[in-house]
Subunit: 203 residues, 2 copies
């Protein structure tokens, strides 16, 4: 039972990967990148530290460019993040070898989040199972589990090495002379998973 | 990390209990009963066979009577099942010793299912975490996992020994001279979990 799991190296996608593994899935972590920055390397580091298989999946730079335009038009990143996530799921789901895709989207997320119609459409169009282990978990539950499982680094948003979609969008915005802080909400602290708190065998 | 898990002995609530245990929770199965029938005993049997702690939680018979009236007025059980499930979650959540409640509700369920507003209301009113391990899983994923984990008995709906809310509603309907088949959809086959397919240690 192989599952291809969209992975950023953050707490949510790491917890979802852990749950999938505990359920007996052979978990293959997939980090999306557009070839603009090598920001995928942080997710790879975390994946290796956690002992998961990891691949970088390069998507067409045009998707990132379109998302950046959406950010500029909307003056807000939500639609752009949703757009990239849907394309990423589709591009993985359409691969011949893929029967199951998953991600770390949560109950309390606004974006990215597929509604029922889009969820079923993804499953039907590509004949895959779409599995979201965190969808039934609230933020308190997720915090309790991740605090228990992972060594987590907290850093100021701008300084943190991350592999999420935001990093490459920010880069393209700067290239166009636009300050990302006019688009992305200011979050003082963001987190990154560094490794397991205990040896996995003892969890 | 104790969690009180609403449990019918069926595939969904058994799978959800398994996931919670794999995540490190101390799982306490709770089967709701209204004192009309001893239908809770089937859930207890399954709970024991799977090796989980189990309690029967008796709720006020008035809740069942109100649900039965709803069935009669609606000529359909959906609102009644939803009503009982919400009361069951609330009554467990309000107990002093309870910090986490859970159930086996799934992505593709219509009822019982709490929407975002009701989910947050339950958590806020009773200061609990409400955990739904199956909410991000589709029916194919659930079937694949339950087939792998459990020995399952398939029987005609009317003949199956079950512990869900429906059993006691059906009894009250018959007491009132109403044929439950005029209210509940005819399902030819229903399932019940009998035990683990392999020793748990090997899963």
């Amino acid at each position: 039972m192989e599952v291809y799991h969209l992975y950023s190296g953050g707490k949510d996608s790491s917890l979802a990967a852990y749950i999938l593994e505990r359920l007996g899935y052979e978990v293959k972590l997939v980090t999306v990148n557009f070839g603009v920055l090598d920001s995928w390397k942080y997710a790879r580091e975390t994946a290796q530290s956690l002992g998961f298989e990891h691949e970088v999946f390069f998507l067409d730079r045009k998707i990132l460019e379109k998302a950046t335009e959406m950010c500029i038009n909307d003056k807000h990143p939500n639609n752009a993040i949703q757009f990239i996530h849907e394309r990423a799921l589709e591009e993985i789901a359409r691969r011949e070898d893929v029967e199951r895709v998953s991600d770390g989207t949560r109950r309390d997320d606004r974006v990215p989040l597929l509604d029922q119609r889009k969820t079923r459409s993804l499953e039907d169009r590509f004949n895959v199972q779409y599995i979201r282990p965190l969808l039934g978990l609230g933020y308190k539950t997720i915090r309790e589990l991740t605090d228990r499982l992972f060594i987590i680094e907290l850093k100021e948003s701008e300084k943190l090495e991350k592999s999420d979609y935001e990093v490459e969008i920010r880069y393209l915005l700067r290239e166009k002379g636009i300050d990302p802080l006019t688009i992305f909400p200011k979050r003082h602290l963001q987190s990154r998973v560094l490794g397991w708190k205990k040896e996995k065998a003892h969890l």
